[in-house]
């Protein structure tokens, strides 16, 4: 697998774009895999009692999924040395149906001395941002 060349990167370069979907099964699968069994991610009644319109995706499912764009581009999942985000808007997952998430990854900064690039992820549902300041530092 080829690794990106740090010297060839410029701030503003779009390194990837993708659309991912979550259905209710994806939420249940993530709940089991992660151990996060909070019922707001699988029980509509519980979610509504908590003041939500219905079941929402785990913020960590969205965060964990969209970084795949970065690890695949980097050619090495261990190259992501730092990754952070704010959760700005819940992702509602209908039943039946899917939530559709659009992801664009852009170079936000290049630090030649440290050998790292910062990748900024724009993550939206129907044009509304669901993650804020989603940034991954990648060692190349």
């Amino acid at each position: 697998m080829t690794r990106p060349d740090l010297a060839a990167l410029s701030v503003g370069d779009v390194i990837g774009q993708r659309t991912v979907t979550f259905d209710r099964a994806a939420l249940v699968r993530y709940a089991g895999a992660s151990g996060d069994l909070n019922p707001i991610h699988w029980n509509d009644r519980f979610a509504q009692e908590a003041g939500l319109p219905g079941v929402i995706a785990h913020g960590m499912l969205t965060m964990g999924t969209v970084v795949g764009l970065v690890t695949e581009w980097a050619g090495d999942p261990g190259a992501v040395v730092d990754y952070q985000t704010r959760f700005t808007k819940p992702v509602e997952v209908p039943n039946p149906g899917v939530a559709t998430i659009d992801v664009t990854a852009t170079i936000g900064a290049v630090d030649a001395e440290a050998g790292t690039a910062r990748v900024d992820l724009a993550v939206t549902v129907d044009g509304a941002k669901v993650l804020g300041r989603a940034q991954a530092q990648v060692r190349l």
């Binding site: 009692e49 964990g64 704010r86």
Partner: protein, 161 residues
């Protein structure tokens, strides 16, 4: 309202979490991580890792288990039906790999309440224990090799928010 007395508390290294290959594969499938280093031993070793590499957010599995010591404590007054996740950060000093025995020191860094909303920030310092050690030593300066730092903020709405 989260109990502000917990700010500054440090919970000592907990019982080790054993990172298994199938858990890495299962978590990778759940987050749609298709990179072969999560699934295929030959691919992981080809990149220089001793075993399968965990996805960048896998450490949340370890961190949430450790955070439960604090957030599930009734004295902490964190009502989980009123919690939303506000932010999360992972800093990897080295990637987590299958075979790691991880122990975590939990810090309650910050508890701030404004109006009916409490913001609680925790920090998990995750260490890989030396292979021949089965329980964290209370005397050791650190429980092992520092692998990752996971910082998480929860927002808790009060009854009238």
């Amino acid at each position: 309202m989260a109990n502000a007395d917990f700010e500054g508390r440090v919970y000592p290294a907990d019982a080790p979490y054993s990172v298994g290959r199938e858990k890495i594969r299962e978590f990778a499938v759940a987050v749609g991580a298709t990179h072969p280093a999560h699934h295929d031993l030959v691919a992981a070793r080809g990149l220089g890792y001793p075993d399968l590499v965990a996805p960048p957010t896998f450490a949340v599995v370890v961190a949430q288990r450790t955070e439960a010591q604090y957030v599930r404590d009734p004295e902490a007054a964190i009502d989980f039906s009123r919690v939303v996740h506000a932010d999360e950060r992972f800093t990897h000093h080295r990637p987590i790999v299958a075979g790691d025995e991880l122990t975590t020191v939990l810090h309650v860094d910050r508890i701030v309440s404004r109006g009916a909303i409490s913001m609680v920030t925790t920090r998990c310092e995750i260490y890989a224990m030396p292979q021949h050690v089965e329980v964290p030593s209370p005397e050791a300066e650190t429980p092992g090799e520092h692998v990752a730092t996971v910082t998480s903020t929860l927002a808790i709405r009060g009854e009238d928010a």
